[in-house]
Symmetry: C2
Subunit: 93 residues, 2 copies
C-alpha cells in the first residue's frame, strides 16, 4: 500500500552559492516547488521525505548551513496565513 503523502516544507540557510543551488536542484528533483528564496514545498510520503533529507544533508556535508524538513498536516495547512505582493510588470511608458 502506498504511504500517505503529506505537505512538506524544506527551509535552508546555506552560505555557499554552489551548494545552495545543488540543494534547490534536489528539492526540484523531488517535485517540490519554490515558495520563497530559500524555501520549497510539496507533497512527499515519509520515505521520500527522509530520502530527500539524507540527500540534502549529504550535499551540505560539513559546510556551514542549516536544513529543516517539516511535514505539515491538512488541519495545520488549513490555518496557513499568506500574503504575496508580486513585483509590478515593467511598464514601457
Amino acid at each position: 500500500m502506498a504511504l500517505p503523502e503529506q505537505r512538506t516544507f524544506v527551509l535552508y540557510d546555506i552560505v555557499d552559492d554552489k551548494t545552495r543551488t545543488r540543494i534547490s536542484e534536489a528539492c526540484l528533483d523531488y517535485g517540490l516547488v519554490r515558495i520563497q528564496y530559500s524555501a520549497f514545498a510539496g507533497n512527499l510520503n515519509r520515505n521520500l521525505r527522509k530520502e530527500l533529507f539524507l540527500r540534502l544533508r549529504t550535499t551540505l556535508g560539513r559546510e556551514v548551513g542549516k536544513l529543516l524538513v517539516q511535514p505539515v498536516c491538512e488541519t495545520d495547512m488549513s490555518q496557513v496565513l499568506l500574503c504575496e505582493n508580486e513585483a509590478a510588470p515593467e511598464s514601457d511608458s
Copy 2:
C-alpha cells in the same frame, strides 16, 4: 480559558532591507526566535498568530514580498528533520 498555543513558523521574502528588519522586529516582539535568516518560530495561540500576521502584512504594505505564517501541531513537530552546521570559531593560530 486561555487558547492553546501552537508552534508557529513565520517565513518571509522581503526585498527592502528596512522593511525586512521591521518584520523581524515584529517576530521578536511576539516572542519568536530566529531559526534561519528569513524564518522565525515560536509558540502562539490562534489570536496572537492572526494579530502578528496582520502586523506583518501592514508592515509589508504594498511593497514586493511574501509572508507565510504556518502553525504546526505536535505530531508534525515530532517528525521534523534538522541539520545545523555551525561556523567554526575563529582560530588565533
